[in-house]
Point group: C2
Chain length 213, copies 2
């Protein structure tokens, strides 16, 4: 059955791979499944046809027959549950991999989103210079805890899983801030994620779309 993922018609990052469709593309590449994409313009994202698929007017969405999903974490989990390659078979290890998916999206990503808001939406506000260090420290608190847990192992819990896919994707958004490089083992962890052939293919596919003539 054809799987269609909706993506930015042109990603606002110009192909840096930080839009969330890259996470879904990466998951599809890890499990070796083909997919098609539907580009959605900023105007179309707020129109009824897209809102019927994604009530929050964002990308990505995932369509497979009658099933329509939004929310990146849920899409990645759906892919991981239906194809081998992203979740361990043993029940407890599987629950822990899902745990890291939620940790990425609900514990590590929120302060990163707050930092992105400060940088993008409050850039011209009079308080921004004084406030930004506080927001960065909230991100550092999380990174310090994550770094301590990761230690010197390769992935968060045994073999590479959907939990690592989500965590690496969340941390990637921090590279431009310089915060990631303050934690050597996290920077190396993210680099290991990026080095995976499946990530490389996903990155190349979004780059080609977003830099097409």
């Amino acid at each position: 059955m054809t799987i269609t993922i909706s993506v930015f018609d042109r990603s606002p990052d110009g192909g840096k791979g930080l839009a969330r469709d890259t996470r879904v593309r990466w998951a599809m590449e890890e499990v070796g499944q083909p997919y098609e994409v539907r580009g959605v313009s900023f105007a179309a994202m707020k129109e009824p046809a897209h809102l019927s698929r994604h009530p929050f007017g964002q990308i990505p969405t995932y369509e497979e027959g009658d099933l329509v999903l939004f929310e990146t974490g849920a899409i990645v989990l759906h892919i991981a549950q239906n194809h081998a390659g992203l979740l361990p078979k043993e029940a407890d290890a599987r629950a822990r991999a899902v745990m890291w998916m939620f940790a990425a999206t609900n514990t590590v990503e929120p302060p990163i989103l707050e930092l992105a808001n400060a940088v993008l939406l409050e850039r011209d506000k009079p308080w921004n210079a004084e406030r930004l260090p506080l927001v960065k420290d909230r991100v550092r608190d999380r990174l310090r805890q994550l770094s301590a847990r990761l230690g010197d192992v390769e992935w968060l819990d045994g073999a590479f899983s959907a939990g690592d896919l989500m965590m690496v994707s969340v941390l990637l958004r921090l590279r431009a801030s310089g915060l990631l490089d303050e934690f050597e083992n996290l920077a190396a962890y993210v680099a290991r994620g990026e080095a995976r052939p499946a990530y490389q293919r996903a990155f190349a596919a979004q780059l080609a779309l977003n830099t097409r003539m």
Copy 2:
């Protein structure tokens, strides 16, 4: 097998039910499973014994034999996958219920956490009065979209599910701000969640613990 959930020894909300253990208690009540609790003090939350269970030094955790989980969404999903009552049986409907769990934690909750940070951590900052309306508007944007999707149905997608449990729990944190009451159908949706006998039992259990002599 005994299931143990770690909770605040004394919740900072004094028993209002907003600490995240209430979400796990609620899930356990919906599926009709007994559980024990372990109170953890603020000091103990930062000590090695607790950090080995929860690398971010928070509550709740979930222990069941050799399995140790942190992250509320993952714990609720684990409970829902292993006991009837919180997920539909049909595969597509099940994927959509999980989608709403991620939507609650990764799309609706982040701006609510940002508002909580503004109110709790930046209360005394010189910019707070001017900045607070911007942060509230970010929450409103999400509530407006959620309200439009919910419309006049009872639950987000068919029968009550773990997706509703998480969404109601996330929205509950907004009540004190008054923002929830700006959206009549969302306020009624949250009230329906609170009226469930399982929620009532979970709320009463955390209240008894947090108001004990």
